[in-house]
Symmetry: C2
Subunit: 357 residues, 2 copies
């Protein structure tokens, strides 16, 4: 069985295309009383970019705090805020920010039309109803959240996405000018999410010619951006993220993402940094990728903040192993159908211990 892959049906790409958002959204504002929810990374609340967001008086603007990874609890709270704002459903939910903000926008658009808590939908294809029309506008590139069919959330028990065709954005606005202002280290860590996606996709057992061609193009763009940058680096990084997201959407990620999920869940480490910390330890599984990753770090003057990881207790390690080991598709992609023999619980534990020593 091959996946019938849901793509983002409308894509606009180009420097300055954010200025067309107002027109794009206006087509939806047909009914009187309709309103749009803008979920925007609060880093822009004190920034001149704020004035460019086409919020109308009838709309709801919510500044979101993505200091921590998105949680199911936060999604439920944001959904309640929208429901309290109006008896109607919004005409659209627009997420403007990095991967966390986009995941929040996807999750809120789903939870407005599906009953209960977002916790109930962490998993694969548990969503029953289509989401509210939702638009993703990345201001950081690398996560692939703009094209993926998931919204990754930390719940009370696990870090796991709401994976569904309905999760996919209805529209994305890819304006390379929006990522120009990101701090260099954040840009690097987020960009490495894309690089690692490609390594995991291209070396995985789920690889197919569709994912391969997307992954190969995305990784070559990552190489340009992080080893041989030019004036089109922002454009190329944005395209790399999009194409890398397409690649994993039809294959899977692997060992790095599995371990990184456990790390984020227990220690709240941001996904991009978590990936980098883990990937740097995975020479055994991705020798060429890790070597190139280290060259990219050198070239970009990045030092991994390993010192920032706190001392962990025994039960925390156990919890990390719990979170990582339920991610069957990731392990199977990386290690094949016999992954449970190749990667028993003890070995996952050892990998965490090596990372946290």
């Amino acid at each position: 069985m091959f996946r019938n892959f849901k793509t983002v049906p409308y894509v606009i790409f180009g420097r300055g295309c954010f200025n067309q958002l107002d027109n794009i959204v206006d087509e939806r504002r047909k009914n009187p009383g309709s309103f749009i929810v803008f979920l925007v990374d609060d880093v822009f609340s004190n920034n001149s970019f704020r004035d460019r967001i086409p919020v109308k008086s009838q709309d709801l603007q919510l500044w979101v705090d993505v200091e921590e990874e998105p949680t199911t609890e936060y999604v439920d709270r944001l959904t309640e805020l929208v429901k309290d704002f109006s008896d109607r459903l919004p005409t659209g939910v627009i997420g403007i920010g990095g991967g966390s903000t986009m995941d929040l926008a996807k999750a809120v658009s789903l939870m407005l039309t599906n009953p209960g808590s977002s916790v109930d939908y962490q998993g694969w294809d548990l969503i029953g109803n289509p989401a509210v029309y939702h638009v993703g506008i990345p201001t950081l590139s690398g996560t692939g959240a703009e094209v993926s069919r998931t919204t990754v959330l930390c719940g009370p028990e696990k870090k796991l996405g709401i994976n569904s065709d309905y999760t996919v954005f209805d529209q994305i606005v890819l304006d390379p000018e929006l990522i120009a202002g990101a701090p260099a280290d954040q840009r690097f860590y987020t960009g490495m999410d894309c690089y690692i996606h490609c390594v995991e996709s291209l070396t995985g057992s789920y690889l197919n010619p569709f994912s391969k061609s997307y992954g190969e193009k995305a990784i070559s763009l990552c190489r340009e951006v992080f080893l041989d940058p030019g004036p089109e680096s922002d454009d190329n990084l944005m395209m790399a993220s999009y194409l890398g997201g397409m690649s994993i959407a039809c294959s899977q990620v692997g060992v790095c993402h599995a371990l990184s999920y456990g790390l984020s869940f227990v220690l709240g480490v941001h996904h991009g940094i978590g990936n980098c910390l883990v990937f740097d330890q995975l020479e055994e599984y991705y020798p060429e990728g890790v070597e190139e990753f280290r060259r990219m770090m050198d070239k970009n003057g990045i030092k991994l903040p390993r010192h920032s990881l706190p001392a962990v207790e025994e039960h925390e390690i156990e919890k990390m192993v719990d979170v990582a080991s339920i991610l069957d598709p990731l392990w199977e992609n990386a290690l094949g159908p016999d992954w449970k023999e190749i990667m028993p619980r003890q070995k996952i534990r050892d990998l965490y211990l090596r990372l946290l020593k």
Copy 2:
């Protein structure tokens, strides 16, 4: 202004994925009395593949003749056949074949919901109503018809596409096994459509980083397929066609396609062969592309059927120039905003004369 680009929202890719068509279509057969129209290249009418097409007793199967390029008259006739078959609209229109068959399926799905003749809609964004759900299943790769927002038709006055977001398929089924049986020369000419798309896109003034990354990957896959073929050639050619189609969808084609349209319109030359005949004469505009194209011909033992072009009369040349010269976006992409000075009518005429001498 950037184009808000409409993509195919569902894509399934893989060897044997055609077997999932029945399931995909079944999800649409919810209402009693619903039926599906299968438009299938009549080359399969005497072929074992015919038995694999999931036609049910309530459906309408139409074998289509693509010996000649699709015409508006043929589209109108097929649309009438569907309307005569039932008072209802079909639940879906499924095209199985090469670029011509896919164009017919797109056009019929549009004409079932839009009044008048397909002639009325040749142009850009003249379609007012969404099409019937339509699915494209290529059995030849290269045209990019599976992803494009056009259906190219020969009308009484011109060869021009019905360009619209509604033209885009709702679903495509990309099964590399389906292109394995194509005759070598047909495979080559159709594949060169993709190669030429990429050359025209990558050297054009409309190029942008989105089209560039798609075009670069597509052209590198074409090189593998036609210069260094391996066991994944069918997969790679199918991906090249898809990615090349994405590239031109956000940029444009150029001189070769403009001239080829005129040639097809007047002489009925098939698009793939027409492109090759024209491209071989365009060293001045695409020097590297033409050189590589000739190497691809050599490697694949292809001899262009130049002898098959009939002697033409003066008024036929004039008509070719008429058809080619209205394609403003193609010329502007190739030659810039001053294309009318660079390429006056006389020069277009000279290019045709050189080709037809």
